[in-house]
């Protein structure tokens, strides 16, 4: 029986385009005085994010799902603006836009807010992609108003549930009582199945000001309603990047970590030890600033018109 999985999942031509993109990224940041760093992929701690599953390495710790924690510690140590290009690992099934191991570009700008960073994201995309259309911006509210026809903050839960049918999305079969009442459960489904796929049809678009309940590690602004200073970059309906005006308050970060940790344990999901080193770094003082993480494989797939990110990486999970 012939073994044909020795061959790469990407063509050599695609790999050349990948190399060009990586080079373009390094040149971009070098020209702007942003320092490249590399931090451990293996750590004693991990993310306790509710919906991100990490790989445990028996006896050695956890593989990083993002270099965020280590990079924030560098910021607290006075690194100044930094970027990293690295493989990250998430225990997820392989799919058109997913591979358990993928390449992340992550960078941090001390002293900037998320709006200033969005300007740079737009600028980087323009630098990397020939003839890229100009980037647009809109709020989470505007995206839902336009593509879902509802107010994500005020629409009653019943409207969120029943409205899905109008967009040909079958209601989830088994919804626990807890999930049925969880506004974010429904907003996630709307974003994933209805709104997201319609974003960025004409060019890159950044959605900002997420519901406060979806703040992750971003600051929450006390508007009416309160919003998370978080943004996501979409293009051709694909989510390419996620950025924050970073939370710097160690107590608030500790509270979020604890809540997520408890939630994961209650769901019997493997829960890495929460990162005490990050909390200590925040207590020591991380400068105000903004950061963003971008999926390089997805950006490349979009540029090349590839059917899947597997076509843009040397060996996808099936051939690794």
């Amino acid at each position: 029986m012939e073994n044909e999985s020795w061959a790469p999942s990407a063509s050599i031509e695609a790999l050349r385009s990948r190399a060009e993109m990586l080079r373009g990224i390094r040149e971009y940041f070098h020209a702007r005085g942003v320092m490249e760093v590399d931090t451990p992929a293996l750590s004693a701690h991990g993310t306790v994010d509710r919906f991100i599953d990490s790989y445990a390495v028996p006896g050695a710790g956890w593989l990083h799902t993002s270099p965020e924690f280590a990079m924030k510690r560098l910021l607290a140590a006075g690194s100044g603006p930094i970027y990293q290009l690295c493989h990250v690992f998430r225990s997820e099934p392989a799919a058109v836009l997913h591979n358990p191991e993928f390449m992340m570009l992550e960078w941090y700008r001390p002293g900037w807010d998320h709006h200033r960073l969005m300007d740079e994201v737009a600028d980087l995309v323009a630098a990397l992609v020939t003839d890229a259309p100009a980037s647009e911006r809109c709020t989470y509210f505007e995206a839902f108003e336009r593509f879902a026809g509802l107010d994500p903050f005020l629409a009653p839960l019943t409207e969120l549930q029943e409205g899905l049918g109008h967009h040909n999305v079958a209601l989830p079969t088994e919804v626990s009582g807890e999930d049925a009442q969880d506004r974010d459960f429904w907003l996630d489904l709307w974003m994933g199945a209805v709104v997201g796929p319609k974003l960025g049809r004409d060019g890159p678009i950044m959605v900002h000001d997420f519901p406060a309940s979806q703040c992750a590690m971003a600051k929450v602004r006390d508007d009416i309603p309160p919003v998370a200073e978080r943004f996501e970059l979409f293009w051709h309906g694909v989510e390419l990047a996620n950025g924050f005006h970073e939370l710097t308050d160690p107590d608030e970060q500790a509270r979020r970590f604890a809540a997520d940790s408890v939630w994961r344990r209650r769901q019997a999901r493997p829960t890495p030890p929460l990162d005490q080193n990050l909390l200590a770094a925040l207590a020591a003082g991380m400068p105000e600033g903004a950061g963003v993480a971008l999926g390089v494989d997805r950006l490349l797939a979009g540029v090349l018109g590839a059917a899947s990110i597997a076509d843009c990486m040397a060996f996808d999970t099936q051939r690794a």
Partner: protein
Amino acid sequence: MSMIGTNDMKPGVKVLFDGVPYSVLENEYVKPGKGQAFNRIKIRNLKTGRVIEKTLRSAETVESADIVEMDMQYLYNDGEFWHFMNPASFEQISADKIAVGEAGQWIKEQDEIRMLLWNGAPLQVTAPNTVTLKIVETDPGAKGNTVQGGSKPAKLETGAMVHVPLFIAEGELVRVDTRTGEYLSRAGK
């Protein structure tokens, strides 16, 4: 009863919903940013043929359906049951009119068919996409009062009725598309 996870529901996999067997046609993994993951699947009801969509939470498990697809040889029918044989094992199995369905009008003895078995029992018989059958009854040509356009009805050796071109005569062999019931071509003498 074996359960499979949403991520293992690849096209072609057979699953049960409310006791009814379905074949998975498509499975789209949807995961927004830092949110929950879902699988939007398109599945075909193996009894009715109807296609429906379902949204599952990525963690869900569903009962897999014990569906086996097998090539078998049609032996004969006794009016009530249709009898088939597994050419590899020589095992015989009989299927009723419901399982045989449309296929019954196209197959003659020794033809190879595709059989779907559910929990070991015949669920559905599918005839080959095209078959060659003899015309046992048809009017000679332009004469006759049932001519429509340039075709006329003809009865095949299996009892099926098809419309054939006027020049086709009784006793001739014709190729028919079993999916549409349409005449394709002459098949030589």
